[in-house]
């Protein structure tokens, strides 16, 4: 069944790459957000092939369910003007930097692939099911999880304070 694994992973990897390119190169911000959704969903499928079922579901819930919806909501809220100056046409330096970075990355990864001695993965004994990940979360990583909840609370309050429309105080003269 090796070829089945490979074909599944390759399919979802191609979809994820296509989604990534779509985010970068589409003109419309709504289209970018939808391509981002495609990317996140196929990443969830790739997590499944790695045996991380819980994370795949969390990925769909958090990224596809919350983050992309927030993005689309914001794009709709600001009226999605078609940005004619969307790409940095006047910035050839940034284009050159992007090209150089991409080349450096390709060279580096092929060098690492050629030089390293690859060991077979150990594999997860009990898979990344909710039970095993949750057990770890509430025993060894209890403090970080609690801190993450405090962080989320702070983010919630901060977002409300930042996005609130500032009203003039009562009794102030109208303009």
């Amino acid at each position: 069944m090796e070829w089945l694994d490979w074909s599944l992973v390759a399919l979802f990897a191609l979809i994820a790459l296509a989604g990534g390119f779509g985010v970068v190169f589409s003109r419309n911000a709504v289209h970018s957000a939808l391509f981002l959704l495609l990317n996140f969903a196929s990443m969830a499928m790739i997590y499944l092939t790695l045996g991380a079922q819980f994370l795949a579901m969390a990925q769909i819930l958090v990224y596809a369910g919350a983050i992309v919806v927030l993005f689309i909501f914001t794009v709709m809220l600001i009226g999605n003007e078609p940005v004619s100056d969307a790409t940095a046409r006047a910035r050839p330096l940034l284009h050159a930097a992007a090209l150089i970075l991409a080349i450096i990355f390709l060279a580096g990864s092929s060098y690492v692939l050629a030089i390293t001695h690859q060991q077979a993965p150990v594999g997860l004994a009990e898979q990344g099911s909710i039970q095993s990940v949750g057990h770890l979360m509430y025993t060894r990583y209890l403090l970080p999880i609690e801190m993450a909840s405090v962080l989320l609370l702070a983010a919630m309050i901060g977002a409300i304070v930042l996005a609130r429309r500032v009203r003039p105080p009562l009794g102030a003269p109208k303009e």
Binding site: A16, F54, F71, A88, F105, G158, L162
Partner: protein, 100 residues
């Protein structure tokens, strides 16, 4: 079993696409989306290496990163909204109030 190197290279390519987006695009929302994509690529390396070494700690870490990403998006989009209310543009080149 599919080798870990495949996943690592996939994550690297997706990260590079995110960097390209941050460098090429000028729309603040799309730059933000690319940052999210880069974070996702890093998550993929965590999950792949968690399988490579046979421990679940990497997956717990990815869960924490997801919480941080959610907080980051909420705050970031609130900042974007406030900025648009203030300056009425999404082009990061025109957001230069601190530029003197």
């Amino acid at each position: 079993m599919i080798p870990t190197a495949f996943y690592l290279i996939l994550a690297g390519v997706i990260f590079t696409i995110g960097v390209l987006g941050v460098l090429i695009r000028r729309n603040v929302l799309i730059i933000f989306m690319c940052v999210e994509m880069m974070m996702n690529a890093v998550n993929l390396t965590f999950v792949a290496l968690s399988r490579q070494f046979g421990t679940l700690d990497g997956q717990v870490f990815v869960f924490l990163i997801m919480a941080v990403a959610a907080a980051e998006v909420a705050i970031g989009l609130a900042i974007v909204l406030g900025m648009i209310r203030h300056k009425d543009t999404t082009n990061v080149d025109r957001i230069n109030l601190l530029n003197g």
